[in-house]
Structures are given as C-alpha cells and as structure tokens.
Symmetry: C2
Subunit: 211 residues, 2 copies
C-alpha cells in the first residue's frame, strides 16, 4: 500500500530504485486532524514525507506564547527539526495535523546515505531546505511589515488554500492563539473585515468571500 501511495505522489520526484528503498525502510502513518505529531523539545529519528493532508508548524516560547510559522503539504518534508551534523536532535517547532494526513517516515540515517547514492534525493533535500527558508522569509515579512488586520486576512486566505474550502471551521480564540494576540482583537478585526464585505461570520465558522 505504501508503495502505491509513494508512486502516486513522488514518482516524478524520485527515481525508481529510491522509491523502492523508501517503500522498504519507510513506515506509513495516518494522522488524524488535530493530532500532535511532534512537540518542541521532542527528540526524533525520522524524517517525514508528506503524502496527503496538512501539518501546521508553530513556534512557542517558554512563556507559552505561540505563533504559526507555515503549513506542510504534499511533497513537503520537515528539515528544520534536523540538528547539526546530520545527527538527530531536538525539535524547535511543533507540528499538529491541520486535517487528516498521510505521512511516510524515513530513518534519519538514510538522509546522508541517499545523498551520496541518489541525485534526486540530493535535489529533494536541497529544494526542501530552500522552500523552508522561503516560507520562513515569508513569515518574517508578515511579522515585520504587516499590521494585524492584514496578517489576519492573510491567515484566513492561506487557510482557505490549505483546507481547499472557503468555509473555515474555527473560533476567534483559535485564530488569536495562532497569531499570538488576544481574542478581543481578533473579534474586532474580523467584524471589520465583515463590514468590508471580505468575509461572513457565523458561530464556529467563517466564510471567506473575497480572496
């Protein structure tokens, strides 16, 4: 089964032998929506390869303040949790399933081994790092240059893309946590967006009209 899934999503990315190897050493895992995949400080020895779904990656301080960094989707991997020197080390971010997801996990030792063996793996790893860096840059731009109302609207439209639905089942409180602000601020700005005709508000539900 893992083999078919792999072929479906990664056959253009990896050569056949690599696909075979992944199928052999990788483990398939189904993750339910809202399940915690890895927490800050978790040691981990496996590299995730996303098949379907989406994982929300966020950062938290000791004080408990939190902020969402980006989402992992099909074809993504999570490099940021790797430590120095190809050793496994502690994760600096948290990953929670944003929706039901399918992931293949690969033992970290393979990272370096395949690097020598497969050109497609080299490209994949380097590409992944670059994609991750660009996501981080985008997060920085958002934090540095946008006001809360813009950040909120970006958050909503990003989520529409990820969820593939213009109807978001979420509460103001959840959004406030993801953007590291307070519920009152979010309610205020959401109401403002509604008055501008960009969204419609319901209980536990937001419909994004203009995106």
């Amino acid at each position: 089964m893992i083999k078919e899934k792999l072929e479906e999503y990664y056959n253009v990315v990896f050569e056949q032998e690599l696909l075979d190897e992944i199928a052999e050493v990788g483990t398939y895992r189904f993750v339910k929506e809202n399940e915690l995949l890895l927490d800050i400080g978790d040691q981990f020895h496996q590299i995730p390869l996303m098949l379907t779904g989406a994982i929300k990656i966020s950062r938290e301080t000791k004080a408990g303040e939190e902020i969402v960094l980006y989402f992992l989707e099909r074809g993504d991997t999570c490099t940021i949790t790797f430590g120095s020197g190809l050793q496994s080390s502690k994760s600096k971010v948290r990953g929670v399933a944003e929706k039901d997801s399918e992931i293949i996990f690969i033992p970290v030792e393979k990272l370096e081994e395949w690097m020598v063996k497969y050109p497609s793996w080299r490209s994949f790893v380097i590409d992944s790092y670059n994609i991750r860096l660009n996501e981080m840059l985008e997060a920085i731009d958002t934090l540095a240059f946008m006001k809360m109302d813009q950040r909120l609207f970006k958050y909503l439209t990003d989520k529409v893309q990820i969820m593939r639905s213009t109807t978001l089942n979420t509460t103001h409180q959840e959004i406030a946590v993801d953007l590291n602000t307070s519920r009152v601020v979010i309610s205020r700005l959401l109401k403002q967006l509604e008055n501008e005709g960009k969204i419609k508000l319901y209980r536990n539900k937001i419909e994004v009209v203009d995106f």
Copy 2:
C-alpha cells in the same frame, strides 16, 4: 595566499583535497565596510565562504521598508540565496559588509559536485542550512514576541558581539532603518535604556555597558 587563509579558517572543517580544490577554483575577495555585496533581485553564480569580518543580511519590501535578519561571520555561508534545483537564481535578501571582510567565492556548480565527492562538504552544506534556519527562527521569535525596547537592546548587544567592541559607531537613524521603525521611537527608547544604566549615548556613538 588564498590557500593560507583557507587553511587557517577551514582546516578543521574540510579535508585536504577539498581545501586544495577550493583554493584552485575559488576567488578571494576583500570587501570594505559598508560595501554592497549583493542586492535583492541580483542573479548570482557564486557561493560565499566567509573568512573574516561580518556581512549584514537584510530584507526589503517594494515599499522600501527594511529589516535586518542576521549577520554572516567566519565559517558561514549564505544558502538562502540559492534557488530551486541547485540552479543559481535571484537573491531575496541584501548583503552589506558590516565591517571589512574577506570572502572566498565558489562557483555554484561545485556545490553539487562536491556533495557527492566530499563527506565534509555534505556536512558543511547541511549544517549551514540548519544554522541559517535557526537564525531565521530567532528573527521570527524576536519579531513575534519582543517589544521594541527589547528588540533594540538585543540589536545593540548582538552588534557588540559582531563588532567585538562595546562602542558602536552608529546613528539613531541607522538603527531605526535596521529595525523598521522611526528615528523618534529609537531615540526615545535609547534614552530609556540610558536612564536604566544599560548604555551611554554620544553623538554618532553608543556605548553598551550592561550586556
């Protein structure tokens, strides 16, 4: 000459054959303080290897707003400017020499070539990516969780480390640009830090006392 410098700074990082190859294909460049090394949008075909000095890496929007991300120092390389698929592509950040610096430039083609050939190069590239990602994470934490007075003090103490001097020759205006705020705000907060006894203010000069 390039050979001696290399041996001095990278002999523990790379094996001898790789050092020899770098000396052969790399070009040495001396960069004066405040010189613009690469700008946003610049195409570039060389990977920098820092020998001495420091490069300030910053990000700018079309609107002209700017923010400092981090500094490159000895042993660092700048991966974020790499494009997808190991091809050279356009830089998304700006690099300006914070002080006189020495850099070796390596043609990008070598990146992949050496990846197969030299284990130490593989480790170096992966390590560099991880260091870069961690710097980005730190920038995000700073932006997301710290107020301007804390950001300012962090900026000053970071700069003390980079410049290896507790006396910083800079103006309020320059700091304001680096932190994407206004001069008045910086003057206000600097005065506050002075009153707290953490710094001393002079014209074109700030002395960091408590760090």
